[in-house]
C-alpha cells in the first residue's frame, strides 16, 4: 500500500508541477505575443492557435492532485452524527461515485478525441491536428482515474488521511 501511495502521489504531484510549469511557459509566450503585437505588429500565431488546447492540458494536470488530497468542496454533515464505521461507509460510497464519474469522463473524452481525429479537425492558421491535444488531456484524466481508484481503496480499507480543503475565495 505504501508503494502504491508513493507512485500515486508522485503521479499527481508531477502532473500538477508539469501542468503549471507549462502554463507559465504559455504565459511567457502570451506576454511576448502581446509585446510583439504592440511593438512590431507581428503576433505569435501559435499562442492563439493552440493556447486553448495547451490551457486544457494544464487545467487537466491540476485534477489528479485535487482527487488525491480530496480537496473538492464536501459538506460533511454526518461526521458528528454517525459512528466512524458509518462515516467510512458514506465516504466510500462518495469515493465510488467520484470514481464512476471520472471513468465516464475519461471514457467520453477518449471518444471525443477519436471523433475530433476522424473529423480531421485542425487549427485555423497552422493546420495542426487538434486530436493529439485532446488525447493528452484524456491520458491525464486516466491518471486521475488511477488516483481516484487508490483513494477509493484507501476509503474502503479505512486508512485514508483527511485534510481540510483549500478555499476558493
Amino acid at each position: 500500500m505504501r508503494a502504491a501511495r508513493t507512485i500515486v502521489t508522485g503521479l499527481a504531484n508531477i502532473s500538477a508541477v508539469a501542468g503549471l510549469s507549462l502554463l507559465l511557459i504559455l504565459a511567457v509566450f502570451t506576454l511576448l505575443d502581446g509585446l510583439l503585437r504592440a511593438i512590431a505588429n507581428t503576433p505569435i500565431d501559435l499562442v492563439r492557435e493552440i493556447g486553448d488546447m495547451i490551457a486544457a492540458i494544464c487545467g487537466a494536470c491540476c485534477l489528479p492532485i485535487v482527487l488525491l488530497h480530496r480537496n473538492n468542496i464536501v459538506l460533511r454533515l454526518f461526521d458528528r452524527i454517525l459512528p466512524p464505521s458509518g462515516v467510512r461507509g458514506i465516504d466510500t460510497l462518495a469515493a465510488l461515485v467520484v470514481e464512476i464519474v471520472m471513468i465516464g469522463m475519461a471514457w467520453q473524452f477518449g471518444l471525443f478525441g477519436m471523433k475530433t481525429m476522424r473529423a480531421g479537425d485542425v487549427t485555423w492558421l497552422l493546420n495542426w491536428p487538434k486530436a493529439p491535444f485532446w488525447f493528452v488531456v484524456d491520458g491525464i484524466l486516466w491518471v486521475a482515474v488511477a488516483v481516484q481508484t487508490f483513494v477509493l481503496i484507501e476509503e474502503m480499507l479505512g486508512v485514508r488521511e483527511r485534510r481540510e480543503p483549500e478555499s476558493v475565495a
Binding site: 503549471l20 507559465l24 494536470c61 485535487v66 462518495a94 461515485v97 473524452f109 475565495a169
Partner: protein, 434 residues
C-alpha cells in the same frame, strides 16, 4: 415524469447527494447527466462528460485563475506583503489605530496581487499581527482587522470570485472588474470608518505609536516599490484595455516570478509547494465549473428558472423586496456552505430572476462578491477567522468574532447601499462603454 417533477426531483437529489458527502461538483455532474438523460437519451447526456470539461479546461478566460493563483504564490515568497505593510505602517502608524488602517490598506493593495483571501490573511497574520500586538493593540481587534482586510480581496480585481461569476453567468469580466472599482473603494472606506469609530469609542485597544522619521518613511516606500510596480502593471494594463484578463494574468504570473528570482527568494522547495497549492485550488475550481456547466443544462431543460419567476411574479413584493429576500437566503445558505460554492450552484437559478426584475447581471456580480466577502468573516464558517485562530490559538474564536462585528456592520451597510443604488456599481462601466 413532468418537467416540473424532474426539476424538483433534480434539486432534491442534488441536496441528497451533497448530504452523502459526495463532492458538490460531482453531485452536480450526476444530477445533470441523469436528469438530462431522463428527458432526452443517455447517449447525448453522456457526451456532456467530454464536451463540458473540454469547454471549461480549454477556456482562456479561466486559465487566468491558475495564473493569478501562481502570482499569489510567487508574491508570497517575495516578501511583498511585508514591504506593503511596512510602507503603510510608516505612513499611518503614528495615528490612533494607525496600524489597523495600515493593515486594511496593505491588505487591499496586497489583495490586488495575491490570488486568494486565505493567503492574504495567513500572510498578514504573520506580518501585521506580531507588530500590532507588540504595540499593545487588543488581540481581538487586531485579528479582526486582519480578517476584514483579507476578506476585502474578494472585491478587489483581479478577484477569483468575479472571474468565476463571469464564467458561469457568461458576463464580460472586464465590465465586472470596472464595476467593482467604486464598491471596493466604498468598502475600504467603510472598513476604515469602522476602525475610526471603534478606536474613538475605546482608545485603549489601539495605542498611538511614535512617528517614524522621513528617512525611514522613504526607505519603506522604496522597498515597497516593486510591489507597487506590479500592482500598477496589472491595473494599468487591465483598465487601459491594453491587456485582456488572460494577458493580465500572464503578465502578473511572469513578472511576479521574475521578481521572486531577482530577490532570490524562490527555492525549488517553495516553488514546488506553491505550484501544488495552486493546483489544489485551481483543480477544485475546474471541477466545480464542470459540474456547474453540466447542471445548468438540466436546469434549463427542466425550466426551473421560469418556474421560479412565475412563482415570484405571484408574490406581492416589489423587486427590491425580492432582492432583499434573496440576499437573506444567501446569508443563511452561507451558514452551511462556502459562499462561493453557493454562488456557483445558485447562479443558474438566481440570474434569470435578477434579469427578469430588470437588474443588471454586472451589478449582481458585485452584490454576490460582497456576500462572498461577508461569508469569509461571519460565523459559523467565517473561514478567514478560523485561519487566524488556527495560526494564533492564543486569540480565542469568540474574541475574534466579537472583534469582527464592526466590520460586518460596515460591509452590511455597503451591501444595503449598493442594493438601494445599483448605479454606484454600474456608473463606471457605463461611462467606459460610452
Amino acid at each position: 415524469m413532468t418537467v416540473t417533477g424532474i426539476g424538483i426531483a433534480g434539486i432534491v437529489a442534488l441536496f441528497a447527494l451533497v448530504a452523502l458527502h459526495i463532492p458538490l461538483a460531482f453531485a452536480m455532474i450526476v444530477v445533470g447527466i441523469v436528469a438530462f438523460a431522463l428527458q432526452t437519451e443517455w447517449a447525448s447526456a453522456l457526451t456532456f462528460l467530454a464536451t463540458e470539461p473540454s469547454q471549461v479546461l480549454g477556456s482562456m478566460d479561466l486559465a487566468a485563475v491558475p495564473l493569478f493563483l501562481m502570482m499569489g504564490a510567487f508574491v508570497n515568497v517575495s516578501g511583498f506583503s511585508r514591504d506593503l505593510y511596512a510602507a503603510a505602517a510608516a505612513l499611518l502608524g503614528h495615528r490612533r489605530g494607525g496600524l489597523s488602517y495600515a493593515t486594511i490598506g496593505g491588505s487591499a493593495a496586497f489583495g490586488a496581487i495575491c490570488g486568494s483571501s486565505p493567503a492574504t490573511v495567513a500572510t498578514f497574520t504573520q506580518v501585521a499581527l506580531p507588530e500590532m500586538l507588540k504595540r499593545n493593540y487588543a488581540p481581538g481587534f487586531s485579528g479582526a482587522t486582519i480578517a476584514a482586510g483579507g476578506a476585502l480581496k474578494a472585491l478587489i480585481p483581479p478577484s477569483l470570485s468575479m472571474i468565476l461569476y463571469c464564467v458561469v453567468a457568461r458576463t464580460y469580466i472586464f465590465d465586472v472588474f470596472v464595476a467593482a472599482v467604486i464598491p471596493a473603494l466604498i468598502t475600504i472606506a467603510a472598513n476604515l470608518a469602522a476602525i475610526a469609530v471603534v478606536v474613538r469609542l475605546n482608545p485603549a485597544i489601539a495605542p498611538v505609536s511614535p512617528r517614524v522619521s522621513r528617512k525611514e518613511k522613504l526607505a519603506a516606500l522604496w522597498r515597497a516599490a516593486p510591489a507597487a510596480l506590479l500592482i500598477a502593471i496589472i491595473f494599468a494594463g487591465l483598465y487601459s484595455g491594453v491587456f485582456t484578463v488572460n494577458e493580465a494574468a500572464s503578465v502578473a504570473a511572469v513578472v511576479s516570478f521574475v521578481f521572486a528570482l531577482i530577490r532570490r527568494t524562490i527555492t525549488p522547495g517553495n516553488l514546488v509547494s506553491g505550484l501544488h497549492q495552486t493546483a489544489l485550488i485551481a483543480g477544485m475550481i475546474y471541477f466545480v465549473l464542470i459540474g456547474s456547466s453540466i447542471f445548468t443544462y438540466f436546469i434549463s431543460l427542466a425550466k426551473v428558472p421560469e418556474q421560479r419567476i412565475a412563482f415570484l411574479g405571484g408574490v406581492n413584493l416589489p423587486p427590491t423586496g425580492i432582492i432583499v429576500l434573496m440576499l437573506a437566503a444567501y446569508l443563511v445558505l452561507g451558514a452551511v456552505f462556502d459562499e462561493l460554492a453557493a454562488m456557483i450552484v445558485t447562479l443558474p437559478f438566481a440570474l434569470p430572476i435578477i434579469v427578469y426584475f430588470g437588474y443588471d447581471p454586472v451589478w449582481w456580480a458585485i452584490i454576490n462578491v460582497i456576500i462572498v466577502e461577508l461569508g469569509l468573516v461571519i460565523p459559523p464558517i467565517g473561514l478567514v477567522i478560523l485561519i487566524i485562530n488556527a495560526m494564533r490559538p492564543d486569540i480565542p474564536l469568540g474574541t475574534l468574532y466579537r472583534g469582527i462585528v464592526p466590520f460586518v456592520v460596515a460591509d452590511l451597510a455597503v451591501l444595503a447601499l449598493l442594493t438601494a443604488f445599483p448605479s454606484l456599481a454600474l456608473w463606471l462601466p457605463a461611462i467606459l462603454r460610452g
